[in-house]
């Protein structure tokens, strides 16, 4: 009985457009050109898969606009330097939960502390030089274990979850449970100075004082490879999270890149004029920041191996760490400075600065929080750095709020898709590239199929003739005759080819002239 309501037409028909930068963020690979028309099956497959890939890219970009959390920020007024804002100011300015993220642990007895955050960012591992090792949930301040291993501790590292950690002690490498129970003492790994954990390969890479780079598969418990780097004492180590390559810094100013598949370094870069003091690589594997004894801080593009920026720091930087959102922390003495966007426009002043209680021994950004952990001579400081951590985590990868059951499920899945060390290389997506066969390979295949090489020239051996017609002079003459004939064949062929090319060119020119419509009276005389 109702009259139909007159429908207004939609002024913006279709779905909302997605901004280009968002789309670019989710693009993987380059769209090549389609195969030629006779290969209809391959064409069909390529068109379909590209359509699916485009759809996935658009859906990802649309979802990205709806992520729940935003990153933190710190913006000063026009006359105010952000580096003059202290931690106490920030704590006063934000609420109490955020303020609890700035705290100091005064542990002055057991030496300067090295630290590590677990992959989810919830658990903190501290190792003091004089043997104090402790692991705790730093957000709830709940202590998981605390012990003194009665030996020098060079480095500490979490393994794949908060259940296990590795401690590089004076002589050997020890693996402990999170309750402090010693599980393994691995004597093959001696004099370990630095460790890096590759999470998707379950590999613990260790650099020793004797110049050995060793990889330990922690899921199976086997040493994968021990590489003798022949570069002396290795005490500067970083890993590239994008392709699992280990970066080692040496005292002659070079940074070398290693995989477990090769005994030689993949790349050797001369970075500094003195020794290299610290190396850090960002999570996308694009930029590497190094600091050296020549008091310089250099930024390199790792994909193209080009230097991008070079800064001069009056006192050099002993420890470097890069956060998930690209903030760089550089520690000199007892001062920690945080810089924002070092690889873009050259930075003139730090984003934030803080003076620690003792000389800094290790810095590490916490994965999904706006927090920087500083281990120093007087203990540990957790400082607040707005905008450092990635605000939106992925629940299936590293979930700080996971339950025990979720952790178990995640662990099983991660072990099932553990990547073999043979696949570590400079380009992690090498497996998805098309393996184009070279001309040599195709020629070899053709030779195999035909049974002989169609391009090879068989040497001419003249037949032996009787009755004295096979004297050496006559044989030579026959050979020369055949050689001359072959040469004339070659010349004839090249002349023919050249004449054909010339003729084609002339025809093309004539066609062009005819198309241009330039008609002259002399056209009738043109051949």
């Amino acid at each position: 009985m109702f009259n139909s309501i007159p429908q207004k037409s939609d002024p913006f028909p279709g779905s909302a457009p997605v901004p280009e930068e968002k789309l670019k963020k989710f693009r993987r690979g380059v769209k090549g050109e389609l195969p030629p028309r006779p290969q209809y099956k391959l064409r069909d497959v390529v068109i379909r898969s590209e359509a699916a890939s485009d759809l996935a890219q658009k859906q990802n970009a649309r979802y990205d606009l709806m992520l729940p959390e935003d990153a933190g920020f710190l913006e000063g007024d026009e006359d105010e330097d952000t580096c003059t804002i202290s931690q106490d100011d920030i704590v006063d300015a934000v609420d109490i939960t955020a303020g609890a993220k700035y705290f100091n642990l005064t542990l002055s007895q057991f030496g300067p502390y090295r630290l590590d955050y677990s992959k989810t960012g919830r658990h903190l591992l501290l190792g003091g030089r004089r043997g104090h090792v402790t692991c705790l949930d730093w957000q709830s301040k709940q202590l998981m274990c605390e012990m003194n291993v009665m030996e020098t501790v060079n480095d500490v590292k979490w393994l794949h979850s908060e259940a296990l950690f590795a401690v590089a002690q004076k002589k050997w490498l020890y693996i402990y449970d999170n309750k402090g129970i010693e599980l393994h003492c691995i004597r093959k790994f001696n004099d370990v100075l630095r460790m890096q954990f590759l999470p998707y390969h379950f590999l613990l890479a260790t650099a020793s004082a004797t110049g050995f780079l060793q990889y330990l598969d922690v899921s199976v418990g086997k040493e994968v490879v021990a590489i003798c780097t022949k570069a002396g004492r290795l005490d500067v180590m970083a890993h590239n999270p994008h392709n699992a390559i280990i970066h080692l810094g040496h005292s002659n100013g070079t940074v070398t890149l290693w995989t477990p598949n090769q005994r030689e370094p993949l790349v050797k870069m001369l970075c500094h004029q003195g020794g290299v003091r610290s190396v850090a690589v960002d999570k996308t594997g694009t930029y590497m920041v190094t600091s050296g004894m020549d008091k310089k801080l250099k930024v390199y593009d790792i994909r193209a191996y080009r230097p991008l920026q070079s800064y001069f720091l009056p006192a050099g930087a002993s420890c470097l760490s890069l956060s998930q959102r690209g903030l760089l922390s550089a520690a000199t003495g007892d001062i920690v400075q945080v810089y924002r966007d070092v690889w873009g426009i050259p930075v003139t002043k730090p984003y934030m600065a803080h003076r620690a209680k003792g000389s800094v021994w290790g810095v590490h950004f916490c994965p999904f929080e706006d927090v920087l952990g500083v281990g120093h001579g007087e203990g540990f400081t957790s400082m607040v750095v707005p905008g450092a951590g990635e605000p939106n985590f992925d629940g299936l990868d590293a979930n700080p709020y996971r339950s025990a059951k979720q952790r178990q499920e995640w662990e099983v899945k991660a072990l099932l898709e553990k990547i073999q060390p043979e696949l570590i290389g400079l380009d992690p997506s090498q497996l998805s590239q098309v393996d184009h066969s070279t001309w040599e390979q195709r020629h070899e295949d053709r030779v195999q199929v035909l049974g002989f090489d169609p391009l090879a020239k068989e040497k001419f051996t003249p037949r032996l003739k009787t009755k004295g017609r096979s004297s050496s002079g006559k044989v030579e003459k026959r050979k020369k005759q055949v050689a001359h004939e072959d040469q004339r064949d070659v010349i004839r062929q090249t002349v023919e080819d050249r004449m054909k090319i010339d003729k084609e060119r002339k025809e093309k020119e004539k066609k062009k002239a005819a198309a241009a419509g330039q008609k002259s009276a002399l056209d009738r005389f043109r051949k």
Partner: protein
């Protein structure tokens, strides 16, 4: 130390994008990313866990190696779960010669054996429902009528009999609805898809109407015996037959004479039309190969399928038209994709002897093979498939594994694992021997070509080698 400027309780100036009011921002230009645990942890134990997602590629490095590892695991698991044999239907007292599918019921199947016995099976209970003595001598062919109420059989006693599909009641005798006596032995029978017409072949190809007792049309082309005749399921007026002069003859029911024939090197045993593509059919040949022809271009087969080591006896298409299964005198069954030259799967058992007849069930899931040793075996068409109802997550996982295997199928490690099949020793050594023979022939041909004038010996492709001529 600069004193903080307090701008009041309300967010002012530069605000955050989505107004989160669970914390009070005192100063407008400092904010930390605070997560409220209530948004990320489930409320009660009865809820499911919350899993926020972020698809940023930088949070998920090593996409390709991880997918590769998953594909490798999926391929290995497929081999672990590849257990295709389901059941063996026992009961015949002589070798099973032919089988017929019921067009309307997935659980009914008929089989006829070499002593003239015919059995109707219920596949869900895997037992024989009805037995009757159909012929004296071999039951050569059988087909169920398209409505499913009756079926026809032909046998060595030169008769065509029509039977009722329902089991006779208590006290009733098994009597055929109709019996037609012919002049010679009939070797095969097939029924039209829509009309009451069926075709038999023996010495010539006869088209019968169900109401008449003599054929309405007979085709012959100078050949004395035909082994198999089939109606095209899509273009229902076309038929094809295999003749003993190594040819395949095409007919149109409406014409008076056959259309054309293609003569090959060796005789074809049976043929099957592709149920999805009207013009393609596959024939199983005595020279251990199967040939797929396009009806319109008979001069060259579309594909040559090579993998058997003895004569191929029967072939049947899957209802999707994408694959077919072949039964061979070497005691194996092979499943071929329709456009591939090699099989994707081989089924064999120590107890299964020469496989005479094969059928692919109409729901695309099962394969029935009838063999010489009086057994009919029920196999899965996809050896690693889980039968029965799958939960939605299971289905999603199966689809994901399938897609991964397809994506990485060309990588050498994955290809090696997915192609590997265990073969009985006799078949394995026979395959090697055939390969050596083929290689010897090829080498000889190459040497002749190499030492003769270029162009005097034309290259004959594999497809052209097997066809002698096409006669119209």
């Amino acid at each position: 130390m600069v004193s903080p400027k307090i701008f009041g309780n309300v967010l002012s100036g530069r605000c955050k994008r989505n107004q989160q009011t669970h914390f009070r921002q005192i100063r407008a230009d400092i904010a930390l990313n605070i997560r409220n645990p209530d948004d990320y942890v489930r409320e009660t134990k009865l809820d499911i866990q919350r899993v926020p997602r972020n698809y940023d590629p930088s949070l998920h490095p090593f996409e390709v190696p991880r997918e590769y590892t998953r594909a490798l695991n999926a391929t290995k698991l497929e081999r672990v779960f590849a257990k295709p044999f389901l059941a063996s239907l026992d009961g015949h007292r002589d070798g099973v010669n032919c089988m017929a599918k019921h067009p309307k019921s997935l659980s009914t199947m008929l089989s006829g054996s070499c002593d003239g016995e015919l059995k109707v099976w219920n596949l869900t209970k895997r037992e024989c429902v009805r037995t009757l003595q159909a012929h004296e001598g071999f039951v050569r062919g059988m087909v169920v009528r398209f409505c499913g109420t009756s079926f026809f059989t032909v046998g060595d006693d030169k008769t065509i009999k029509q039977w009722k599909m329902e089991t006779p009641g208590y006290g009733e005798e098994e009597e055929p609805l109709n019996t037609i006596l012919g002049k010679s032995v009939f070797t095969s029978i097939d029924h039209h898809q829509k009309e009451g017409v069926f075709v038999t072949c023996g010495q010539q190809v006869d088209i019968w109407d169900e109401q008449r007792s003599s054929p309405i049309r007979s085709f012959s082309w100078g050949v004395d015996s035909f082994s198999c005749v089939r109606f095209n399921p899509v273009e229902t007026e076309l038929l094809a037959s295999c003749a003993s002069d190594r040819s395949i003859v095409l007919y149109d029911m409406r014409e008076a004479t056959p259309l054309k024939k293609v003569i090959m090197n060796m005789r074809s045993n049976t043929l099957c039309w592709n149920p999805m593509e009207a013009y393609n059919f596959t024939c199983s040949n005595e020279d251990y190969n199967l040939y797929t022809y396009d009806m319109r271009y008979l001069d060259k087969p579309f594909t040559v399928h090579m993998d058997h080591v003895s004569a191929v006896l029967d072939v049947d298409y899957s209802p999707t038209g994408k694959e077919f299964v072949s039964a061979s005198f070497d005691k194996t069954i092979r499943i071929f994709p329709k456009d591939s030259g090699h099989s994707r799967e081989v089924y064999h058992t120590k107890r299964m002897q020469h496989v005479i007849s094969i059928k692919w069930s109409s729901d695309n899931k099962y394969i029935l093979s009838a063999s010489d040793e009086m057994n009919i075996r029920l196999w899965k068409a996809n050896a690693a498939e889980k039968l029965g109802l799958l939960a939605p997550r299971e289905k999603a996982a199966v689809n994901y594994s399938q897609k991964l295997k397809e994506k990485f199928q060309h990588h050498p490690q994955i290809r090696r694992i997915s192609h590997h099949r265990h073969l009985p020793k006799s078949i394995y050594s026979q395959t090697k021997e055939l390969r050596v023979m083929k290689e010897a022939r090829r080498r000889k041909e190459r040497n002749v070509r190499k030492h003769s004038k270029p162009g005097s010996m034309p290259v004959v492709t594999e497809k052209e080698k097997h066809v002698v001529t096409v006669v119209k």
